[in-house]
């Protein structure tokens, strides 16, 4: 009796949960499907779900018409560049704060966090004008720098919470064992910190890849990453849904995969360790 009730319950939950899950995922699924249709089929009524002539034409077309690869490359450079540079600055800082905390470490951490709370729009004008006067509008350099600064507090915080979990006694043991500071970092700290660094890297690439304020406001064509490139499809003459879908699918696919891998770290990173 009881077992059967549990089983029925499980079947009901399975059906319901899948329904909810597929509904939420539907816009993405629909985008992916549409990217394989022709423009005609894309706007056809009634819409065709699976039974249409599958074609990769849109993907080639997107590249032919607007040099998709350049924008994809911009996205790669900007997200990897800003995250990489951010890590370079943040790893020593987080290391110091986690293992050699001083009186003001906590205040510094909270202050760093508060810079993240600054709304981007509040400093739009100065950043725009600075970039303009340096001739950096529509350049990758400007975006790498700006996004690095935007994400630096998150990077420091994430690394800090990961480093905090490495017991201090282990580093002391290394010191007793004769490891110099450099060797301590190479042989002990880094291998233990790699998982944390990797998930920090992953989450921040995602955040930088999807950033859509500075990328829209500081680029026009040359340095436009995918966020800005896709936005150009909003103009009325750009209503090519199948091509939009193809471009969108390419833009979200890699990040979706990375995101699925980093779902655990996501919670921790975005709540600054408040929820683990």
């Amino acid at each position: 009796m009881a077992r059967e009730a549990t089983r029925n319950r499980k079947i009901a939950f399975t059906a319901f949960a899948w329904l909810v899950g597929l509904t939420l995922f539907f816009p993405i699924l629909w985008t992916i499907l549409t990217s394989f249709k022709t423009e005609g089929e894309a706007i056809a009524t009634p819409p065709s779900l699976l039974f249409f002539e599958w074609s990769l034409e849109n993907y080639f077309e997107v590249q032919r018409r607007s040099n998709y690869l350049r924008h994809a490359m911009n996205s790669v450079v900007i997200s990897l560049g800003s995250t990489g540079l951010g890590l370079l600055v943040a790893i020593p800082a987080a290391w110091a704060m986690a293992f050699s905390p001083g009186k003001h470490t906590k205040d510094i951490l909270m202050w760093m966090l508060s810079t993240k709370m600054l709304p981007a729009v509040g400093v739009l004008m100065p950043i725009y004008l600075i970039c303009q006067s340096l001739g950096l509008l529509d350049s990758r350099i400007a975006l790498v720098a700006v996004l690095m600064m935007m994400n630096l507090p998150i990077i420091v915080w994430m690394l800090y919470t990961y480093f905090k979990e490495i017991p201090g006694e282990i580093l002391e043991a290394a010191r007793m064992d004769g490891a110099s500071l450099g060797k301590e970092i190479v042989y002990v700290l880094t291998p233990m910190a790699v998982p944390g660094i990797a998930s920090t890297l992953l989450l921040n690439i995602i955040l930088a890849w999807n950033e859509a304020f500075w990328t829209l406001n500081l680029t026009s064509s040359q340095a436009a990453p995918l966020t800005a490139f896709i936005a150009s499809y909003s103009s009325p003459e750009g209503l090519f849904w199948a091509k939009l879908s193809a471009a969108s699918t390419l833009a979200i696919a890699p990040i979706l995969v990375m995101g699925w891998f980093s779902q655990k770290q996501l919670v921790r990173g975005l709540t600054f360790g408040a929820v683990k």
Binding site: K10, L24, L118
Partner: protein
Amino acid sequence: MATLQTQTAARFMMAPAVVMLLVWMIVPLGMTLYFSFLRYNLLMPGMEVFTGFGNYEFFLTDPAFFVALGNTLLLVGGTLLATVVGGTFLAILLDQPFWGRGIVRLLVIAPFFVMPTVSALVWKNMLMHPVNGLFAWIARGLGFEPVDWLATLPLFSITVIVAWGWLPFATLIILTALQSLDREQKEAAEMDGAGPVSIFFHITLPHLARALTAVTLIETIFLLSVFAEILVTTGGGPGIASTNLPYLIYIQALLQYDVGSASAGGVVAIILANIVAVFLIRMIGKNLEA
């Protein structure tokens, strides 16, 4: 905690990050503040004059400001309501035993990783389009007149789009908190004769309080600066019906080149965000001590 040598090293290691962030904060902030007291238009270079609170007066008495402020609050509030309630529901659902939990979980969190411009355009064109969109087709199939979502209900439509993207975030955090709930606590409550409903309200919900607060505060910070979704869907319109504060400032700044009043608006936005930030930082700070 440690020796003098390591502490000196620590200072040197922290310096680059601290200095960079300090510059990043002070320079633009100072410039925004400075510009906000100038009459400064990029179309009329060299004509900058000090105007005191003129820009603030201009910005704050502009009827568009109140509309934008209202829109900002509605957008934040609506999205919060949808994501917190929906997220709690989804988290509880995903916490139940069923077949394919891992896959459903992936499906649910996927929207969070879709870049704002993509999600906005996909919703605008392929779902909400009044002629060829999927919703229009469904409406017609059911015998209703299709709704031109973004023209007649612009703010609501944008809220839906934004909420779709943030629902996974709320779900994931609440789910994490839910799974950290001590089973023994629930079992003790069951032994004490509590039913599922009273367990939810007396054990689960208080346990989630912290996660819910975190979700609310963090989402608020991000939602106060929703921009791309508006830019690519309605462009703030029709009229200013879906213009929020960041978008209004963007119009002042990069469309009208009015640096002065855009900066005044920026200062207002910063103050608004800080009200939320104070609570968030306090909460995280408490956590840091524990």
